[in-house]
Amino acid sequence: MSEPILIARDIVAGYAPDLPIVHGVSADIAPGEVVTIIGPNGAGKSTFVKALVGLLPISGGRVTLGGRDITGRPAHALVADGIAFVPQTANIFASLTIHENLVVGGHTVRGDLRSRLERSYAMFPELAAKRNQRARVLSGGQRQMLAIGRALMTNPSVVVLDEPTAGLAPKVVGEVFVELRRLATSGVAVLMVEQNARAALAISDRGCVLAEGRNRAGGRAADLLADTVLAEAFLGGRKAH
């Protein structure tokens, strides 16, 4: 396993500075890896990743990207640094065309976007066929593909996704996971928050369990899946698809 590219240490964050939801969470991810953050509702998973990508203020701890301290940098600067984020809901611009969504995704890229656009279309041929239609015509799965394609326009080294399979049909959930695995194989670090814990861990290298805003467990995804105590507490209820 290569050296971690993104390292978050003891992150304290929340919507208001005096009301932290995340109380000192640590995580790291290396190029080519898929790391999934799981945990019950209200564990601070979304808050943690939103803080990592600069959409929420970090009031404690340190984040480094490739050894450089990026704590507290604004979201738009982090995009230019190589961290892409796919939010959970409303992760595409429905009123813009598919083509325009991708162009906006490459907003921080200076110069010609043509080769990057072609790469996205090659990756998701379904999008290419509808490139001049408004994104609101897309199905749930296609929307997710567009959101991922949009995030890749900056050639990010780290892609952070907040529940990429939320609200998707079971068959499409699998397709999204396959796509994310493929992305990691190309050398990108993929960090995601997931409710479909078993299915997500099944394609992940490592997992990270949060509860009440703190690290509860972590390690190889296969070990987490095999841990009966953990499964009872955090993976129960939800069956794998």
Binding site: V79, F93, S95, V104
Partner: protein, 298 residues
């Protein structure tokens, strides 16, 4: 008679449309109702007057009542008013945004800004009316029964050019796309690496520039006075809301419809009620189609 009223309505509508685009930008991108927008029309008109006072309106070119100096004045006024709009944002609205103020606070601040801006105009240029030029013009019969002044034809043509240029800019330029992206979702725009404050600055500059053009057009047909913008405020909002705040086309068509409603109302009710038409249009829209003609139900 009807054809003449249609032509007059389209001219008024074109001017209202240019102003209404800025109001729509305010509602969509800046996320508040900017009641100070009408004052940018006034300021644009008076800033052009400053240039005209120095350079003169120029020798009448072709059939127009002015020369290139007036056109240069328009351009300069557009730039300066864009700068003024940005300055007002820096002094007032940006501070409120940073404090995380409720959108209503911005609306009230806009009322205050409008008062100050209007009275500074009175302070500098006085209560009276001003003219860019005192050249007399003879109306041309453009179509059977439709007479327009050459200046009016020029205004209509330039308004169309501006709207088309703006449409192309919003559709194809990356900044234009960023503006539309911001209008739909500021948080997703940030996640895409768009610097929100940059887009807001551009939005103000564009709105101010368009308002200045509308103001100069108002001043050309035929005069300037300190309440020239303010008296259009309701028409601007009616146009913007009628079109549905979701698109540029909405504001333009909304503007034309309000202009036509004002000018055609004389056939139904007395001309004394002409200025009440925007109110009526606004009420009807809010009753029957609150999302506007081109807006989407949220």
């Amino acid at each position: 008679m009807l054809a003449q009223s249609l032509a007059d309505g389209i001219l008024t509508g074109a001017i209202i449309a240019l102003g209404a685009i800025g109001v729509s930008f305010g509602l969509q991108i800046l996320k508040f109702a900017n009641f100070a927008h009408s004052e940018l029309l006034t300021w644009g008109a008076y800033l052009a007057l400053v240039f005209v006072a120095f350079a003169g309106p120029g020798t009448p070119t072709a059939e127009l009542s002015f020369g290139w100096q007036m056109m240069a004045a328009m351009l300069l006024a557009a730039l300066l008013t864009g700068g003024l709009a940005w300055l007002v944002d820096l002094l007032i609205f940006r501070r409120l945004r940073r404090m995380g103020s409720h959108p209503m606070s911005l609306v009230f601040a806009a009322f205050g800004a409008a008062l100050v801006m209007r009275h500074v105009v009175v302070l500098i240029w006085g209560h009276g009316t001003h003219f860019y030029t005192r050249e007399l013009q003879i109306a041309i019969e453009v179509l059977p029964g439709v007479r327009m002044l050459p200046d009016q034809i020029f205004i209509l043509g330039l308004a169309i050019v501006i709207v088309v240029a703006l449409h192309l800019y919003l559709t194809y330029s990356r900044t234009g796309m960023a503006m539309r992206a911001m209008a739909e979702s500021p948080s997703l725009a940030r996640a895409c690496g768009i610097e929100v404050e940059n887009v807001i600055r551009w939005t103000w500059i564009l709105s101010g520039g368009l308002a200045a053009m509308a103001g100069v057009f108002l001043g050309l047909t035929p005069q300037l006075h300190p309440e020239m913008g303010f008296s259009l405020l309701l028409a601007l909002f009616a146009a913007s809301i009628l079109g549905g705040t979701g698109s540029l086309a909405g504001a333009v068509i909304g503007g034309l419809l309000v202009g036509l409603a004002e000018n055609l109302s004389v056939f139904l009710i007395g001309s004394g009620y002409k200025t009440a038409m925007p109110f009526l249009v606004l009420l009807l829209v809010l009753f029957f189609r609150p999302q506007g003609l081109f807006g989407e139900k949220s």
